[in-house]
Symmetry: C2
DNA sequence: GTTAGCACTCAATCGAGAAGAGTGCTAACA
DNA sequence: TGTTAGCACTCTTCTCGATTGAGTGCTAAC
């Protein structure tokens, strides 16, 4: 769908004005604003055309025009000039990540917070990276007292999990240390589905009568390694939208926030329209799967964490969103966490893990 | 300050009505509602008295009365009959805590969430338990690759911390394991200020040329064990207040939420008025230290975690708060987390830690 | 193709009046 | 002396019509 150069300019001007004012835009405003000198009457004619073509809507006769979903879509696809990266901005992003954040979940979560703070007007969201199946990179146990020990697991995606485990039977420091060592050598590099009953019984033989403590440990492994269907979404800056004029009605705001908090499955919220080679996905208004988001736009970008794990980070706001700005900071942040995570994974002793890993792993189907 | 029985009854009726309706209460409403049969005119006289005494205020002449801060205070101190515990309710609280939550921070945080959910109208807050000085209960390292290992610390309050540490120099699995063992035997039971340069050099001697890896480990210990001044406050259900009539104005709501998020120091928000032997503190309206909370009431209860560590859990809402209900569920939840944490600490091998701990520890001053 | 001009539309604003809830005060009553 | 009925008064809220003003569509002229 093509538009004349003049129509494009007018549409762009309307959208950008509306993005910043949230008020319907009249022909006079545009005729004054735009570079090509045209009278309001001419603009009016063009606006009527644009409305007929579906790019603009009128809240009521004799009011200014506001962009339709289609209008925003055209804006995003065609009119948004490639934003140039501000080196300064990238530097600021880098600074915002404090040095001590060297763990995956902190990095990702902090990225979400940063995003929410950096625009201050929209809600930001992140999902933790999900890879189809995770393996055990490293694990260990730590004796605490006769009935307690700590289980620690480093997954192949570098996330660390730990759990305090209480046992009925008494354990000794030696037996815990022994189990720790055995577990590590036997299980490191394995996926959950590669932990067979046979290997477990083998491990149990090393333990003698303290074998039962293996049970809660395996529970823990299962719990942590089982791929969660639909990574949970973390929202940040939910109350940012309270400063948006479209949410001066508290009920609307609460409805949206409640909806988000109760719908943790990002897949169900937004369509997967990163069909192009781009990994950025922009969903405008009714393009979102959820009806509750019909007046919102969601922009998400996919980041990589390791070989085949990806997560998303994004923004939810009213359709009247500052797309240019959001896209830019989103891309800036994703760029940065990609490098951060890249560093994190570069340090992986991947070879070492690989040598322990059988070649023929059951293939996990994607549903 | 004493009130006649009848005045008390009228005040109570007004407050409870106002709590549930948020509308100024007129004399006729009370004359119909209350058990002792009195005409509206009589009630009016009594209300005029109560206003003169400062328990009620009139938003404007010829409107009903609403309780003043003093009125609420009287209500809380004198009129609130001792709530009886509902066994059912306690059972529900118990169920709400899923079994897998066996770590201090999850327990406390979950308590906050539960509190926010259970009333659904107010903001809940929790602070992590703070004890003056924490010691190392147990620590360990876990080798990951030639430049990476994981440091794990279990503090005396049972909180587990871990951090991925990257080293410039190469480390071997053996050296990490050795250090792990040495650290544990040498440092377990110690407070931060008991870790002397001498003990560190002693440890270093065990390590030979891989001694430098001790540095980031000590950094980590410092970071985790240094007592934070003013435990951070975690809020939950901040958007709950959006459903309250006093916050239909979005700006007010946003102001409050922003204020809370930017003021993490609970000490500065509310006065420490748990002066009685009670550990519950109720601050009504302007009794709060922060002016931003002048239309809010805060109720906090202190829970115990271990011997001398305490944290707070509480509720923030409009002064028109359902005190009876909030107090009850607050006490219920604190009761439960006290027992949960009690179990957690009972399992502490305290003797074992004690034997390693020198008697004369530098006394830390309270400021 | 562009523009000036004009009649028209419709939301938002304003103000006057009416309604209604509630009070204070007075006088009568038990 | 305490309680109550009644009435005038106050003040908010609601309603409704008039006004305003931003903006449009259309027509005619350039």
């Amino acid at each position: 769908m093509d538009l004349s150069d003049r129509k494009s300019k007018i549409l762009k001007a309307i959208i950008e004005d509306y993005i910043s004012t949230a008020e319907p835009i009249g022909s006079r405003t545009i005729s004054k604003r735009i570079d090509l000198k045209l009278s309001s009457a001419t603009i009016r004619n063009e606006m009527a055309d644009l409305e007929e073509m579906g790019y603009l809507v009128q809240p009521h006769t004799s009011s200014g025009r506001i962009p339709s979903d289609l209008g925003y879509r055209f804006y995003v696809n065609e009119l948004l000039k490639k934003y140039s990266f501000n080196v300064n901005q990238l530097e600021q992003i880098r600074k915002a990540f404090s040095v001590k954040l060297l763990q995956l979940d902190s990095i990702v979560r902090e990225a979400g917070n940063l995003l929410a703070r950096s625009n201050g007007r929209y809600i930001s969201l992140v999902t933790m990276p999900e890879s189809e199946s995770l393996s055990i990179r490293r694990m260990g146990l730590m004796y605490m007292d006769a009935h307690t020990f700590l289980a620690i697991l480093v997954k192949s995606d570098s996330m660390v999990h730990n759990k305090v485990i209480y046992t009925q039977i008494e354990v000794t420091e030696e037996s815990v240390n022994l189990l720790s060592q055995v577990l590590n050598t036997k299980l490191a590099g394995l996926h959950l589905d590669e932990i067979t009953p046979e290997s477990l019984t083998e491990i149990a033989t090393y333990l003698g009568e303290s074998a039962p403590i293996l049970i809660p440990v395996v529970e823990f492994l299962k719990e942590v390694l089982t791929p969660k269907e639909g990574a949970p979404v973390y929202y940040s800056g939910t109350t940012n939208i309270l400063s948006q004029p479209e949410y001066t009605d508290v009920h609307k705001a609460k409805e949206l926030i409640d909806f988000l908090e109760n719908n943790q499955d990002l897949q169900k919220l937004i369509p997967d329209r990163s069909s192009k080679n781009e990994n950025i996905s922009v969903s405008i208004g009714r393009e979102n799967k959820a009806k509750a988001l019909k007046d919102c736009s969601t922009i998400t970008i996919t980041y990589k964490a390791g070989k085949n794990a990806t997560g998303k980070i994004g923004i939810i706001g009213p359709t009247r969103m500052d797309y240019a700005n959001v896209l830019q900071s989103l891309e800036g942040i994703s760029l940065h966490i990609n490098t951060l995570l890249g560093q994190l994974y570069q340090m992986d002793g991947s070879e070492e893990v690989v040598k322990n890993k059988p070649k023929k792993r059951p293939v996990r189907r994607l549903e």
